[in-house]
């Protein structure tokens, strides 16, 4: 390899990392939490503790409730209860326009026994939408994923002693230690990092590169979606009122055809119309691919209109890459591996950002502003995300738009952390924010009491370990001259 090539790739690696590092950090941390989206959903609804739900019974209850309370919604989108989540997650539209999403009680189908919260869905949506309106948030996330692929590949080229560095860590040497840590964390989990970055871009591919779809489908991209999942295509409403068929036989037939996959989602389109359609989507937790067994029912007669399973090789390849990212297939141990690897990726990004400022400082350039922002992001995001869990327990259960306030708490805290970090000298800012992160995470561990089930114990252990990490960071005294010892 000629040296000019390596230098060019190093330059590219550095700049890609600097320009996208902060947004990638937010994406990676929220994605890491999304691994336990269902578990966070349950943690944030302690009133569900100890409950179990039969997916068919719970779905019938939910549809009955929606039939009485949201008959005019153009569609009801239900995610069925399952062993990880003893409630139905429902999305519907109010007559005046806005969409409502709420957990529905598995027995009564009503939302009011369960507190209003987005639970783990917040991290999941934030992971690829960044709380920015469609389609811009998703585009930012897609470009960030591509940038991560680029940073990883150029990082491999930039890296001189690839295999030797598996075994290299020289502590207490300032910049050298940060570089060792960056390399060690980056190299050991590199296959995961590469797969998660590329498959992340795959999930947003049709938004990032719509040109093939637009040209082949001549400007009617919806046809591509219909071709991807033929059984999902809904019928247009006729305008003639209709009555929904009894749900029990439909759902039992769906459960029978799905077998061990179980019922994943139920979508009811035009529920009050003569052309009402019910789409039943099988669970996809038993294979890597994201594709599902899909059934389409006539909503008024209960007759099966379509029964589709994916077999096309290219679509299955795409679904497998997609599935590797969302990890629906993952049993608990794999899920923990995803979680730990996600945290390690966040550590790679954070150490890379830190490395950059250390190097520039050694070159005699001013890095104070960037270093303050680094503190606001690297320690600030954990404070804000932990704050979401705290808000879930601290806000009164009957507060109007409670779920919205929980989300607001995240961004208020994040903003406050950034202001605080910007106002303090970076060395002090790091320490103050690390202490705050430690306290917030300690709070999460405390609110997981009485630690009776696996979810509360897991949450408490993760929170305590992370709190210990931030506590350690806060206890370190930067060496004279501003260089970490």
């Amino acid at each position: 390899m000629r040296p000019g090539f390596r230098a060019a790739m190093t330059w590219l690696h550095d700049w890609t990392g600097i320009l996208t590092g902060w947004v990638l950090l937010a994406i990676v941390l929220s994605g890491t939490l999304s691994v336990f989206r269902s578990e966070i959903n349950v943690w944030m609804r302690p009133e569900l503790a100890g409950r179990t739900a039969d997916p068919v019974r719970a779905t019938i209850a939910a549809i009955d409730w929606l039939h009485d309370h949201a008959p005019r919604s153009p569609a009801w989108y239900l995610t069925a209860a399952n062993p990880r989540a003893p409630f139905t997650w429902a999305v519907w539209q109010q007559p005046d326009g806005p969409f409502v999403q709420h957990a529905l009680d598995p027995a009564s189908g009503a939302p009011d026994t369960i507190r209003d919260t987005l639970g783990g869905e917040f991290f999941y949506r934030f992971h690829f939408e960044l709380q920015i309106p469609y389609p811009f948030g998703r585009l930012v996330a897609a470009v960030a994923a591509m940038a991560l692929v680029l940073a990883l590949v150029t990082g491999i080229v930039a890296h001189r002693r690839f295999f030797a560095d598996f075994f290299t860590f020289r502590p207490h040497k300032g910049q050298r230690s940060w570089l060792d840590a960056h390399n060690l964390l980056g190299v050991t989990v590199l296959p995961f990092h590469l797969v998660i970055a590329f498959s992340g871009a795959v999930t947003l591919a049709s938004l990032l590169l719509p040109w093939g779809i637009l040209s082949a489908y001549r400007g009617a991209p919806a046809q591509f979606q219909d071709a991807l999942s033929p059984a999902m295509a809904a019928r247009p409403a006729t305008g003639t009122p209709g009555t929904l068929a009894p749900m029990e036989p439909i759902l039992h037939e769906a459960a029978r055809r799905f077998g061990p996959d179980g019922i994943g989602q139920i979508y009811v389109y035009n529920p009050g119309d003569a052309a009402a359609t019910l789409i039943a989507i099988g669970g996809n937790g038993r294979h890597v691919g994201f594709d599902s067994h899909v059934l389409r029912f006539d909503g008024t007669t209960g007759r099966i209109l379509a029964d589709y399973r994916e077999h096309r090789p290219m679509i299955s390849t795409f679904a497998t890459l997609y599935g590797l990212h969302v990890a629906r297939f993952a049993p608990p141990l794999t899920r923990w591996l995803y979680f730990v690897c996600g945290l390690l990726l966040a550590a790679v990004i954070a150490s890379g950002l830190r490395l950059r400022t250390l190097r520039r400082r050694r070159q005699g350039k001013s890095t104070e502003a960037v270093e303050r922002l680094n503190a606001g992001m690297i320690a600030g995001i954990p404070v804000a995300f932990a704050g979401y869990f705290l808000a879930n327990r601290l806000l009164p259960a009957t507060l109007p738009d409670r779920a919205g306030h929980e989300v607001q708490a995240v961004f208020t805290l994040w903003g406050l952390m950034l202001v605080l970090a910007a106002a303090l000298p970076s060395a002090t800012g790091w320490r103050v924010l690390s202490v705050l992160a430690m306290l917030a995470l300690g709070g999460v561990a405390g609110f997981s009491a009485p630690w009776l089930n696996g979810i509360d114990q897991g949450a408490a252990i993760v929170a305590i370990l992370l709190a210990a990490g931030f506590g350690y960071a806060a206890s370190r005294r930067p060496a004279p001259g501003g260089r970490a010892r």
Partner: protein, 86 residues
């Protein structure tokens, strides 16, 4: 300045090639339309970062421009042969 030109060429030109590859495969592959389009999506995602790296690997900015234009022209020619009409 030259770094700015190179960066813009690599990112925008690389995206252009990825988009063109997505179109070309959508028209030229032998499978169903949905599968061809999907293959184009995946190929485009692989090509974009690769083209950005190419944009920084070549020594002269002029070479980058020639390489990017050349690859895009070949892809466009194949797409036209496959029935694409822009």
């Amino acid at each position: 300045m030259s770094m700015l030109v190179r960066t813009a060429t690599a990112i925008i030109g690389g995206y252009g090639i990825a988009a063109m590859a997505a179109i070309t495969l959508s028209w030229c592959l032998p499978w169903s339309r949905a599968e061809n389009v999907t293959a184009g999506l995946l190929a485009g995602l692989l090509l974009w970062p690769a083209m950005v790296m190419l944009g920084f690997a070549l020594r002269a900015s002029l070479h980058v421009c020639i390489a990017i234009t050349g690859i895009a022209a070949v892809l466009a020619a194949l797409a036209l042969l496959g029935g694409w009409r822009p």
